[in-house]
């Protein structure tokens, strides 16, 4: 039973309400009229601001109508005062909302006649708005009849909300651009990335720039300036102000002019406040127009040093997060397939694509490939570098139909096996360097592998002439033949080396020379002269020497320049003292092994950066080097030598004086030998020197060797000694 009071109130019609209802009726008629004669409508300029207030006003009817619908639904199922309050609310909101809807509608119709807007979205928006208005009017008339119960209220509310949503949505599309609402979500998807090889300048570079910065206004819905910046047809057509561009002449093109106008200029595009084109983007547009505004040319068809190509390549993002058309493999399966010698990893977080590396020749077997059938769709990169992969194994490789990259370098595959990977339609990079693949084997499969872009064929039998054919027949593929020694630019061999662990010896020693390069001849001398290829003997490993000797050696090989001369000091030291001590200290930074340095058979080398320099040279500067050696059994000594370094530039000098004292014991020791080596030339090259002196054979148990660093006035020079030679 309807509440009496409610009935009374719903029928309440004061003066204001009556006027409003009259106005509503008139609005209905006016709108119907306007819709009928829309085409004939011409909006005078002074009425245009009214039309433009449409986006301002439209929020009110939306709010009012929504509130009215809520109240309309809620008033059922309430009792007493509450019903009354909600009914009154509904009536008020509905009436006001409908009136405002009508006014907004008229304003919208005015605005649409201005011509800035057109297209499908406008039509949808207009008719949705019209429906909302008439629906609201109808509800107002019907909602307070007695038969109007909860179900009817729900139904009209739902209809109304749907209408409001539709109108609002299309309206928003008009003012903010299509997909404005969902854009944050849609654009969150990784952008479509085109491999540079397939990229078309217009479709993949120019169009996306326009879509990003221009099509918000210049689209089929909005048509600002009667211009659509969409496909090639609309671009060629231009807009209200004329053709967009003069192919080949960017400077004369309207588009470029508008882009280059100053920001204050009203005609500057995009309008101030909208995102502007970057310098790069403007450059790309200009270059593209200069390139005859070609709609079909591919990036890779441009010259290698073409500016457009360079810029376009830079603009196209690297192929990252390439969308793959397959689902991720089971994580557990991947984990189980991972072994010490087979690593399987996703290429990036959240990427279904997998790359597989197989290592260790000895652990390789065909099974390693077969076992991966469970992830055959996901593998996009397979590395079999240096694995003993047989032709049959490639049948298992062909199961990875999404493979992008296949490395078969230095594997055992031949032409026969290669034919089974013809089916790898997605293969982009194929490496067959160092295999027995031939020209015919390779050219057979290339025509089938449409995605292939890079092939490496270094160290194969493919001749330069074959390569030319390959390049001619497969323009999209870049072949890398790698380094080939044409013999035209010979290199200099490095000097020979020695493999004697030490060159200090007590009895005969074999000379062990070697050279790391295969097939090198070593020629050498033992008389201190420089070796040459005519007079010097060929080293055959049979030479032994028995006395202190400087061996000089030089390496020769056909197709190479001969090496520099290497010089090795073979130092004979027959006697090693039973005990040694130094009477005066060594220089604090040249300690080496102290007194033991001189008989440890470790030779120093030139160069302060060389570890052998720091560790093997014993040095003195401010005092003499005085070494006392004792022998348990007397030795027959007839010569004493010192091995020292000479580096004039850094002040490493020969000793000024060497004295050798010997005898049965300290007291009986007498001077056996005095040596005064010649001083070095200025700016001479650093060298290692041997200073030897002989005397009549003496039996000694006590030996004292004194070496005095070189001193001119106050200039103290450094003396560095690594070995002493007692014979």
């Amino acid at each position: 039973m309807p509440d009496e009071r409610y009935k009374h109130l719903s029928l309440k019609k004061n003066r204001t309400i009556l006027y409003a209802e009259q106005a509503l009726l008139i609005l209905n008629l006016v709108i119907a009229f306007l819709l009928l004669f829309e085409d004939k409508l011409v909006i005078p300029y002074w009425l245009q601001p009214l039309g433009r207030a449409h986006p301002l006003l439209l929020h009110f009817p939306i709010a009012f109508l929504t509130l009215a619908m809520i109240a309309g639904v809620v008033r059922f199922g309430r009792t007493g005062d509450k019903t009354v309050v909600f009914s009154l609310a509904e009536q008020g909101f509905l009436l006001a909302g409908t009136l405002l809807t009508g006014i907004t509608l008229i304003m919208g119709l005015f605005l649409s006649r201005e011509g800035s807007y057109s297209g499908e979205a406008l039509i949808w928006h207009k008719w949705a708005g019209v429906i909302v208005f008439f629906l609201a009017s109808a509800i107002y008339v019907l909602a307070f009849r007695n038969w109007f119960k909860a179900p009817a209220a729900w139904a009209s509310a739902l209809l109304m909300i749907a209408g409001l949503l539709a109108t609002g949505h299309y309206g928003a599309n008009l003012s903010h651009g299509e997909d404005f609402l969902m854009e944050p979500i849609l654009s969150h998807k990784p952008a479509r990335v085109v491999p540079i090889e397939q990229a078309v300048v217009f479709a993949d570079v120019i169009q996306p720039i326009l879509a990003n910065k221009c099509s918000g206004c210049h689209n089929t819905n909005k048509l600002k300036g009667e211009l659509v910046l969409g496909d090639s047809v609309s671009l060629r057509k231009g807009g209200k102000s004329g053709k967009l561009f003069v192919p080949g002449d960017a400077d004369m093109s309207l588009m470029m002019q508008r882009l280059h106008l100053s920001m204050d200029d009203e005609k500057h595009m995009p309008p101030s406040g909208k995102p502007q084109l970057t310098r790069e983007e403007i450059g790309l547009l200009a270059l593209w127009i200069r390139y005859d505004a070609n709609f079909h040319v591919k990036v890779t068809e441009l010259g290698l040093d073409d500016s457009l190509r360079t810029l376009a390549t830079a603009w196209l993002k690297p192929v990252s997060n390439e969308p793959f058309g397959f689902a991720a493999a089971d994580a557990k399966a991947i984990r189980e397939l991972n072994t010490d010698y087979r690593t399987i990893m996703p290429i990036a977080k959240k990427s279904p694509a997998l790359e597989v590396n197989i290592y260790n020749r000895n652990a390789y077997s065909k099974k390693q490939l077969e076992e991966m059938s469970g992830i055959r769709d996901q593998v996009i990169s397979l590395n079999l570098n240096k694995m003993p992969v047989k032709d049959d194994d490639l049948v298992s490789v062909s199961q990875f139909k999404n493979l992008r990259r296949l490395d078969l370098n230095f594997s055992d595959v031949t032409d026969k096996g290669l034919s089974s990977i013809k089916s790898l339609k997605n293969l982009q990079t194929l490496s067959v360097s160092g295999t027995d693949i031939t020209y015919s084997g390779l050219s057979n499969i290339l025509s089938e592998l449409k995605s292939l872009r890079t092939v490496t064929i270094w160290q194969t039998s493919i001749k330069p002439s074959d390569l030319e054919n390959l390049r001619k027949d497969n323009k999209a593929i870049s072949f890398n033949e790698g380094f080939r020694d044409d013999g035209n630019s010979p290199l200099k061999l490095n000097p020979p080396q020695i493999s004697n662990p030490t060159t200090v010896f007590s009895q005969d020693i074999p000379v062990q020379l070697r050279h790391p390069v295969r097939g090198v001849q070593i020629r050498f001398t033992t008389d201190g002269k420089d070796p040459d290829s005519i007079h010097s003997p060929l080293f055959d490993g049979k030479t032994t020497i028995d006395k202190t000797t400087t061996v000089k050696a030089k390496a020769y090989k056909d197709g190479w320049y001969s090496s520099d001369i290497a010089s090795f000091d073979y130092l004979r030291n027959t006697y090693v003292p039973d005990s040694v001590r130094l009477l005066l200290p060594l220089n604090s930074v040249h300690q080496a092994e102290g007194a033991y340095t001189f008989f440890n058979r470790k030779l120093g080398a030139i160069g302060a950066n060389n570890p052998a320099w720091a560790n093997f040279w014993a040095g003195v500067r401010n005092n003499d080097l005085v070494l006392v050696s004792l022998f348990n059994k007397p030795i027959s000594l007839s010569s004493v030598g010192l091995h020292y370094m000479l580096e004039e530039k850094t002040g490493v000098y020969p000793p000024q004086l060497v004295e050798v004292w010997g005898g049965e014991n300290e007291k009986q020791a007498r001077l056996l030998l005095t040596m005064k080596p010649s001083m070095p030339k200025k700016d001479g090259d650093p060298t290692l020197k041997i200073l030897v002196g002989s005397f009549k054979t003496q039996n000694v148990s006590y030996l004292r060797i004194l070496a005095r660093p070189y001193k001119v006035k106050k200039d103290q020079h450094l003396l560095l000694v690594d070995e002493m030679l007692l014979n």
């Binding site: 192929v319 977080k349 260790n360 490496s431 160092g434 890398n480 380094f483 200099k492 490095n494």
Partner: protein, 483 residues
């Protein structure tokens, strides 16, 4: 007590649940507004052992040919005809600015400019100017991206070197290679992800210390493993005499059991690391000989790298080895070549230094290319800072020196998704200041990480209460050099 707990459970009615949940979700939403990546789960921390790139990488591996001591850009890549013209003239104060000087030149009373003793020519499609000291590098100009505008903050070797390697001048931070090892994990489980090779040239050298390839606060599996030139490329890897492979296996199994026990007891992650390292060392025992073996290299390789590549311990040999390691899945191969510190005697020393490295550096790029590996391997060549445009010490007709210069220096990169055949950045006419497109050390690091699919802002590790990155708190990816 139980009663209270049960009652507490009952007191969770719908209303309370919803309101608590509302606050919770609200808090999370607010948090995500403040930290946009809060729920991306892209941080690597918390034991995500096999690192996976944040996004699809261009490069999978890096070979860093570090030229230790700071090669002089004026003699190698930064052609300055104007500097030559002005040789002997004092550097204008407006150019020198307030640059802090090292102790070696701070006391110098005059700073005469000195142009390069060597000529430059243009090469490749990019018409890059390259010095006559680098004939082989010049040949691969179209594969190189030469950056002329690197700059750093430190003016002495150790801090500068530490800075470029670890992102901090002070040390104790993980090296670049360790960050990569942490971020990407091992590609080959039989080799360490980060290896180090040393060599030295004839020029004035500066030390390199193992702190440069330290794992810092990262797990010690990420430490750089130094390969030496002797019979044992990796120290302590060989079995002692008399120990068979089987004995070794058994020993490892027992040791590992013991380690497991102490791990369960103490939970120290370093114990787990230790177990892993023993296992890897065991696998390395068979992998290393295979990698180190150069006897199977084709003869052309010797011609390509130069004969020194067969002499262990030389830069050329290290380049060849670097290629072999990289090809076998070592993520980061770090070379150091010492001897570039030409304070004096520059013309003589730099010529030798350049000769030492030129052929092999170029060969490495060519070699990777002919194996189809260059596109996924990033090769970097460069030092820790540059050298001054004015001379250090006396300037004579044929001799001069250059001091340390942080404001600009040249490096090159090749492969790994870096734009080939380009020169990036420009210095002023005297080669003293950057005129255009500066690249800070952190920018450089961010770019390297980016090429490997790592976001330098997300590759973090929490230590002592804060999250650390290789790029500290700055660094921008240098988009201009990315292909």
């Amino acid at each position: 007590m139980d009663k209270e707990i049960v009652e507490h459970g009952f007191s969770w009615n719908r209303r309370r649940f919803l309101s608590a949940m509302g606050i919770g979700i609200g808090g999370m939403a607010l948090g995500s507004l403040l930290m946009p990546d809060l729920f991306d789960g892209n941080g690597l921390e918390a034991g995500s052992a096999p690192g996976i790139p944040h996004f699809a990488p261009k490069a999978k591996r890096v070979i860093y040919l570090f030229q230790n001591g700071a090669p002089s850009q004026q003699e190698l890549f930064d052609y300055k005809p104007k500097l030559r013209e002005m040789t002997g003239k004092e550097i204008p104060p407006s150019v020198r600015g307030t640059q802090r000087l090292t102790g070696m030149t701070a006391g110098q009373s005059s700073f005469p400019l000195v142009g390069s003793f060597v000529d430059f020519k243009q090469y490749g499609n990019s018409r890059a100017w390259i010095s006559d000291l680098l004939p082989y590098t010049a040949k691969i100009a179209d594969d190189l991206c030469i950056i002329k505008t690197m700059y750093t903050e430190a003016i002495n070797h150790d801090p500068a070197l530490t800075f470029i390697q670890t992102g901090s001048q002070q040390g104790n931070r993980p090296s670049m290679g360790s960050w990569l090892s942490y971020g990407l994990g091992n590609e080959n489980k039989n080799l360490p992800a980060f290896t180090v090779l040393l060599s030295r040239g004839i020029g004035n050298g500066q030390g390199v210390y193992s702190k440069l390839w330290s794992n810092g606060f990262l797990d010690s599996v990420h430490q750089g493993v130094q390969f030496s030139k002797g019979e044992d490329p990796v120290l302590y890897l060989r079995d002692q005499d008399g120990m068979s492979r089987k004995d070794r296996r058994e020993m490892l199994d027992h040791v590992s059991e013991l380690n497991e026990l102490s791990y369960t007891e103490f939970g120290d992650p370093e114990i787990a690391t230790r177990i892993k390292q023993y296992e890897m060392a065991y696998r390395m025992q068979s992998a290393i000989p295979e990698v180190m073996d150069i006897s199977k290299e084709p003869d052309d390789i010797v011609k390509l790298y130069g004969p020194d590549c067969l002499v262990p311990g030389t830069f050329a040999a290290n380049c060849l080895l670097a290629r072999k390691l990289s090809e076998n899945g070592v993520r980061f191969v770090q070379l150091y070549h010492q001897g570039w510190d030409q304070h004096g005697n520059l013309p003589f020393e730099i010529a030798k230094q350049a000769k030492d490295v030129d052929q092999a550096s170029a060969a490495l790029v060519t070699d990777l290319k002919q194996r189809g590996l260059l596109d996924e391997t990033l090769v970097i060549w460069g030092g820790e800072f540059g050298r001054t445009s004015y001379t250090q010490g006396t300037l004579t007709k044929e001799n001069y020196g250059r001091d340390h210069h942080p404001r600009c220096f040249s490096i090159w990169m090749a492969g790994g998704g870096i734009k080939p055949g380009m020169v990036y950045g420009e210095t002023d006419e005297l080669g003293y200041n950057i005129a255009q497109d500066p690249v800070h050390v952190h920018d450089f690091q961010a770019t390297v990480l980016n090429q490997l699919g790592l976001d330098h802002e997300k590759l973090t590790f929490k230590h002592l209460g804060r999250r650390y990155r290789l790029t500290d708190v700055s660094g921008k990816v240098v988009k201009g050099i990315i292909a």
